[in-house]
């Protein structure tokens, strides 16, 4: 799976969590939570969806590494490559 494909899946999952968000204007280098209204339950559901769709179980200790869209894509890509 390419990074672009991972990005597309991540954006789709974010859209399911926050359907009102305009993801086309999401700045991939800025904190997602500063741009989309996401609470802790949304964040957990997003991580569960990542696990289900992309096969990556993200430990809680790594949450700080997932602040931006680019960081999420990079993290998932690295985890999948290391499997």
């Amino acid at each position: 799976m390419t990074d672009d494909e991972i990005r597309a899946v991540v954006l789709r999952l974010l859209g399911e969590i926050a359907p009102e968000a305009d993801l086309e204007v999401l700045d991939a280098d800025k904190r997602v939570r500063d741009q989309i209204d996401i609470d802790s339950m949304d964040a957990l559901n997003f991580l569960i969806a990542i696990d289900k769709e992309l096969g990556v179980d993200i430990p809680e200790a790594d949450y700080p590494r997932l602040a931006t869209l680019n960081a999420i894509v990079r993290y998932v890509s690295e985890k999948r490559a290391g499997r």
Partner: protein, 387 residues
């Protein structure tokens, strides 16, 4: 026979719209079954039945808005005989809304294309903007008189089509009504305490590190369980206020405030909160949050809480002085968890702390008992593995 009534799903709900029936006449229903969907101002709600029997007859069709307490269906309780047809036919149907005003007797004002109207009535019609084609004359030979114009103007004003309010507006109206009633009727008192969360947060991190993501716990689940267990020490806060007296609740159903993406919030119960393991509680918490946002809560979840938890999460304000949702008697607001300097054994160290604020109804408890409740809450949060 039992009547299945339009339930009250919020403090100031006066009417609801029956959206759909999930059961049909002749279907067997068991206590707890969802048999209908109702739309209130705050949410679409799946309504449960509290008797076991057979759905005998439907009295209200989908799309109909009826007052709270209106019979929606007749349930033949288990073992009961089917009523004879005449009896069934005699059962009262939901009363239709009365017409705004009786229709006037039809009397032609215009015959052969010429309108019979007095000059002063015509002038008045122009002043009031009354469309003469819809006015029936009450004068000789159907002549339109001034009084007809006045009545038509009044009728038009009274019969203006109702403004179609969107869900968001109705949600704000429902919250406004409930919170205004709370502020007006409930003599609140507030108690605040700062709780050291270092043990709870460390335990939560360690616990989540060994759990797959699908079973991870949120901090809110820990707070919910601690709130529920603390009620065992102060059962008077596990009650509702009936308007005249306290009604104790035998089970513990803590409500949890969930903000909705479109704005507004709901606070459904997590049933038997004190009896759930943290894993079970987290599962129910996720389920109820998803259904709250999807608009498919159940009637008992809306009506059963006696106390509500509201947590501002990681980025919110430091403390919350909430308003109690009537007829509940208490609410605990948790601010954000923040690192603060605390003195332990004479040493100043940095610990995560949270401000917990109890809002309680002074008609059912006093400050001393409220303080005992907060002390129990604090004690429980120092032993998270025991929750």
């Amino acid at each position: 026979m039992a009547e299945f009534l339009m339930p009250i799903l919020g403090a100031d709900m006066t009417a609801g719209t029956l959206v759909a029936w999930r059961k049909q006449p002749g279907d067997r229903v068991e206590r707890g079954d969802i048999i209908a969907e109702v739309e209130s101002d705050k949410a679409d709600v799946e309504v449960e039945i509290f008797v076991t029997g057979v759905l005998d007859r439907i009295l209200v069709e989908p799309g109909t808005k009826v007052p709270v307490g209106t019979p929606l269906a007749i349930i033949r309780e288990e073992g009961g005989a089917a009523p004879p047809a005449a009896t069934a036919a005699a059962l009262p149907a939901a009363a239709p809304a009365p017409p705004r005003r009786p229709a006037p007797a039809a009397r032609p004002a215009a015959e052969g294309g010429r309108l019979r109207i007095s000059p002063s009535a015509r002038q008045l019609a122009q002043q009031l903007g009354v469309d003469l084609s819809g006015v029936t004359g009450s004068g000789p030979d159907g002549r339109i008189m001034r009084r007809d114009i006045e009545e038509a103007a009044a009728s038009t004003a009274g019969a203006l089509p109702p403004v179609e309010l969107d869900r968001q507006t109705r949600m704000r109206q429902a919250i406004a009504a409930a919170m205004a009633r709370s502020a007006r009727e409930i003599p609140h008192f507030h108690l605040t305490t700062t709780i050291d969360m270092s043990r709870a947060m460390a335990w939560l991190s360690a616990e989540n590190a060994r759990r797959p993501v699908t079973e991870r716990l949120l901090y809110g689940a820990v707070l919910l369980k601690a709130m529920a267990l603390a009620l065992r020490d102060v059962p008077e806060l596990n009650a509702t206020w009936s308007g005249e007296r306290v009604v104790p609740n035998p089970a513990i159903h803590v409500g949890v405030a969930i903000s909705l993406r479109q704005g507004g919030l709901v606070a459904p119960a997590i049933h038997d909160t004190d009896r759930q393991s943290l894993t079970e509680l987290m599962e129910k918490f996720r389920d109820v949050a998803q259904r709250a946002r999807a608009g498919s809560l159940r009637s008992s979840e809306m009506s059963d809480p006696t106390i509500t938890m509201t947590s501002l999460g990681e980025t919110g304000a430091e403390s919350v002085f909430g308003l109690i949702y009537p007829p509940q008697v208490a609410l605990v607001g948790f601010g954000r968890v923040a690192e603060r300097a605390v003195s332990i054994g004479g040493q100043i160290v940095s610990h995560p702390v949270v401000t917990a604020t109890l809002s309680a109804d002074h008609r059912v408890a006093d400050g001393h008992r409220g303080s005992v409740y907060l002390a129990a809450l604090e004690r429980l949060l120092q032993e998270p593995s025991q929750l």
